[in-house]
């Protein structure tokens, strides 16, 4: 099912009584989520990603704009009439019901012609349980299961009605690191197997990058960039997106353009033809540094962390606000107080000092 | 959207009906009653509006006696029961075994019918021509002078009342204090022990400040409860409390309303409002004092 958001805006009355202004959680969001894809809504907390999810779900109605599922306008439909399934961060399993009863719960709400016989309900519940591989746990209660198992039950409950759209709110945040890796593969598999259009919300860029077909990066209610994970990583439209994606994060320098050259401190590091002279922000990915005896960028080494395949060099440079982290191949020798770097042009992004929009690569 | 608001009010409707009829309306009404002079409940007429009812009540010797009794009761039982409960709770928290058993036993008076056990107290303390009663027998055993606690001198009757009141209010206080004590993080005690802090100092400098909000809560509810004393006295001395000289303010209110001397809702309202004013004042004073002495985590 294709989801189409058309100029969707959601504002809330301000919590602060003295301030009469409304808080805009989502500002003029227009975007089409193609049928059968897995889309990650990504951003720091308070960026409006959860509100967007609630709008798609129908738990909130937009202040203005329209939402379509396929060709149906669902803007004013309540959640139960939209055919959506949702999984919350804390799973929201009913603690007093067993796994089976939890999965059956949505089916038991169906009324009138949609009403199912007991046997059919059981079949459907078993099928959903099979899909997420919890068939052996049907008699347990939520408390008696691990976080990962609870997560699966929640997904099964969301899927049992065969929703047109599956929504996941921070699905992995409550899991420990090892389970997180495993579960995100699981989510990917389930999504592929069912082919249900899935939208999930996360603040963890790594999580979003690893499984999404597309990611939507948001900041303060405004969509910053939409695209395939790799595209957004390689071509961030502004400094915020560049900083938000990637671990370790991008290294930010304050640089300057002078007569066709990009300067970091006093050293010209890259040719920069055609740009206007003036101060800029420069973001360099950790993998954009290549040690070289006559490299133009001279940094003071603070620490060298050996990680096996790679080596992480922590160093400082007068033009950088914080410590720089460079990931280099472990073949290089970086002993000594200073290290000189060449830069890979594709890993360097230059942003306007005022607007913070990208000006290189143009 | 409309529907949503309507639904909320619909769920609230039963509560609103009950509270409106039996709390909010009476609250307004009691003010009106207290200002209507010469209200006659048979003909439901009155001849004027003013503060006469308050003045009548304040000059009624029965009311003054009731105020005196109530104040004495408050001043004696609140500190006594709170202190005793603190002592017992601290001891209770320090024992490793049988704690649950003691705690359950100590709570028993909470679930008993006040009127019923009051009768038992009465026969324990009563002195009749046929028998001195249990307590007097004990006093006699230790060489004391027997006294009729139920029909004798004022101090004796007040003593029984205070004892019974303390007996009744202790379970609640012990329960609250033991759970307050249990909630103090044991790490504080460990640290204090490492610093070789003497036990008394641990109690006054760590335990007491930590549980001071609960002690304060008990003092406030204790004051309010003691000011509203009534059924304990009925249990001991019977419904005619004025005759026994042991009436309380609340007892005075009900006597004015109903019974042999009843039929004066205006006087009852005035007395109830005076009681409310006293309780409110004392609670506010308590709150002000506590600002200085209570430690809120």
């Amino acid at each position: 099912m294709r989801i189409y958001l058309e100029h969707v805006t959601k504002s809330f009355p301000s919590q602060n009584r003295k301030e009469k202004r409304n808080v805009i959680a989502v500002n003029d969001f227009t975007y089409e989520i193609p049928d059968g894809t897995l889309t990650g809504l990504l951003g720091p907390s308070g960026c409006g990603k959860s509100t967007t999810l609630n709008l798609i779900c129908g738990l909130e109605t937009p202040t203005s704009g329209k939402i379509y599922f396929g060709d149906d306008d669902v803007t004013l439909l309540p959640p139960e009439s939209r055919g959506v399934g949702i999984v919350f961060q804390n799973y929201a399993l009913y603690p007093h019901l067993t796994v089976l009863e939890n999965i059956l719960f949505p089916l038991q709400n169906l009324k009138g012609p949609e009403k199912l016989s007991k046997a059919v309900m059981l079949d459907k519940a078993r099928e959903a349980a099979d899909l997420v591989q919890i068939s052996r746990l049907l008699e347990r209660r939520p408390k008696e299961m691990s976080g990962g198992q609870q997560q699966r039950v929640a997904i099964a409950r969301a899927l049992v009605k065969r929703p047109r759209v599956l929504l996941l709110d921070e699905p992995l945040s409550n899991l420990d690191a090892r389970l997180r890796l495993q579960t995100r593969e699981e989510i990917r598999r389930i999504q592929r197997e069912t082919g249900i259009t899935t939208v999930f919300v996360t603040h963890d860029q790594e999580e979003a990058m690893s499984i999404s077909d597309q990611i939507v990066v948001m900041k303060e209610g405004i969509v910053q960039q939409i695209g395939k994970p790799q595209t957004v990583y390689d071509d961030p439209v502004n400094l915020f997106v560049a900083k938000f994606l990637g671990t370790p994060p991008v290294n930010v320098f304050s640089g300057e353009i002078r007569s066709g050259q990009l300067y970091l401190g006093q050293a010209p590091v890259l040719p920069f033809p055609g740009g206007r002279d003036g101060p800029v922000w420069v973001g360099i990915r950790p993998e954009g540094f290549v040690p070289s005896p006559d490299g133009p960028l001279v940094c003071s080494t603070r620490a060298v962390e050996v990680m096996g395949r790679d080596t992480s060099v922590v160093c400082t440079h007068p033009a950088a606000e914080a410590q720089i982290r460079a990931i280099i191949s472990s073949e290089h020798d970086v002993s000594g107080d200073t290290v000189r770097f060449q830069l890979k042009p594709a890993k360097v992004h230059v942003f306007d000092r005022q607007s913070e929009n990208r000006i290189y690569p143009a | 959207m409309r529907l949503r608001h309507l639904k909320g009010w619909l769920y609230l409707l039963p509560a609103l009906l009950f509270l409106g009829c039996f709390m909010i309306y009476p609250l307004v009404d009691v003010l009106i009653y207290s200002l209507e002079e010469g209200y006659n409940s048979a003909s439901q007429t009155y001849f004027g509006v003013g503060l006469y009812n308050f003045s009548y009540v304040l000059h009624d010797p029965y009311f003054l006696q009731a105020v005196k009794n109530t104040l004495l009761l408050v001043v004696i039982t609140v500190p006594l029961s709170t202190g005793l409960a603190l002592l017992i709770s601290v001891q209770l928290s320090s024992i490793p075994k049988l704690r649950d058993l003691y705690q359950t036993v100590f709570f028993l008076p909470y679930v008993t019918n006040t009127l019923a056990v009051g009768l038992v107290f009465m026969i324990l303390f009563k002195k009749t021509p046929y028998s001195d009663g249990m307590i007097n027998a004990l006093i006699h055993l230790f060489g004391g002078e027997t006294v009729d606690f139920m029909d004798g001198p004022y101090w004796a009757k007040m003593l029984v009342t205070c004892l019974y009141t303390v007996w009744i209010v202790m379970p609640f206080k012990i329960l609250i204090l033991t759970s307050a004590l249990a909630s103090v993080n044991p790490d504080y005690y460990k640290v204090a022990r490492v610093d070789a802090t003497p036990r008394w100092r641990i109690f006054t400098k760590i335990t007491l400040p930590m549980i001071s909000p609960m002690i304060f809560y008990l003092i406030i509810t204790g004051f309010i409860g003691a000011f509203k004393a009534y059924s304990d006295e009925v249990a001991l001395f019977g419904v005619n409390l004025n005759a026994a000289g042991m009436n309380t303010i609340v007892g005075y209110v009900y006597d004015m309303l109903y019974g042999d001397s009843g039929g004066y809702p205006s006087y009852a309202s005035a007395a109830a409002l005076i009681l409310f004013a006293i309780v409110l004042t004392i609670t506010v004073i308590n709150l002000l004092v506590s600002r200085k002495h209570v430690y809120y985590a």
């Binding site: 929201a92 | 509560a15 039996f22 100590f106 679930v111 056990v117 038992v120 509203k228 009900y254 809702p265």
Partner: protein, 278 residues
């Protein structure tokens, strides 16, 4: 706490035991007296601490000389109906405050909270006059209606309802669950311990109710146990038949004590969460 010396520990146990004796002694005395025969009791100038000839005659007297069974039945009806009505009112309004979002919710809740400070004594006067004027004296309606509303329990249950994660409500909404079904199928089972606690506290309150029943009833046919015991004290058995009186006292105390022994954990937990006496 620091380890106490053996002597300190002995002092502690002695103190606790003394208080336990003070608490238990009246109960012992009432049971003891209730099984002494009338003549034996009145023959003791110095009361005996035990009896070798227990008799059940006093219990027979208690039920035959005064309508103790009637009082019992009345109290049960009063307690059951009041508690049930209270639960309906409290559950619905607690749910409205905890989960429904409607205009005026905040203001209403503030009003409810401020009602908690109003002492019963202030409103009893008008209720008494109202009930008298409506000719509801000596009826169960008059007994029950003013006893139903309990703002404090609404508050207690609302707090508990709010601890149920909001996501559960959202998930149920997405599945098309109606509010009423959500309340009965999800909220009430999850919050069952609190609901049971509230019910038990209300039962205790009803069983011990004295002031309102005394004002509103003056016919024995409508007396509750508290009024019954008062009536027995003033007029029953002849003033001096103390053993029969004690038998009646035992009989009306037993149901609550059994309730307490069965539910003592729940009751104590509920009371420590904010109950007050009376």
């Amino acid at each position: 706490m620091q380890k106490k010396s053996i002597a300190g520990r002995i002092v502690t146990y002695c103190l606790l035991t003394v208080w336990a004796v003070i608490v238990l002694f009246p109960f012992y005395w009432m049971i003891l007296t209730s099984v002494k025969s009338y003549s034996a009791y009145n023959g003791e100038y110095v009361p005996a601490f035990y009896t070798l000839e227990p008799t059940m005659q006093n219990y027979v007297d208690a039920f035959s000389a005064v309508p103790l069974g009637r009082y019992f039945l009345n109290t049960m009806i009063y307690t059951a109906v009041t508690t049930l009505l209270m639960l309906v009112v409290v559950v619905l309004s607690a749910y409205a405050f905890a989960r429904l979002n409607f205009f005026g919710r905040g203001a209403m809740f503030t009003l409810f909270l401020s009602l908690m400070m109003i002492p019963n004594e202030l409103v009893v006067i008008t209720n008494f006059v109202t009930m008298t004027n409506m000719h509801l004296r000596n009826t169960f309606t008059g007994l029950i209606l003013p006893s139903v509303a309990s703002v404090f329990y609404i508050y207690l249950l609302k707090e508990n309802f709010e601890q149920v994660p909001e996501e559960l409500y959202k998930a149920a909404k997405v599945d098309g669950t109606s509010d009423l079904k959500y309340l009965f199928k999800v909220m009430m089972p999850i919050c069952q311990p609190t609901i049971v606690t509230i019910a038990i506290l209300k039962i205790i309150e009803c069983w011990n109710a004295y002031v309102w029943p005394r004002l509103i009833t003056d016919q024995q046919a409508y007396f509750l146990v508290s009024n019954g015991i008062q009536e027995i004290r003033e007029n029953g058995f002849g003033r001096e038949n103390i053993p029969a009186m004690m038998a009646a006292v035992v009989v009306i105390s037993v149901p609550l004590i059994i309730l307490f022994l069965v539910f003592h954990k729940k009751i104590m937990e509920g009371v420590s969460r904010g109950g007050t006496k009376g």
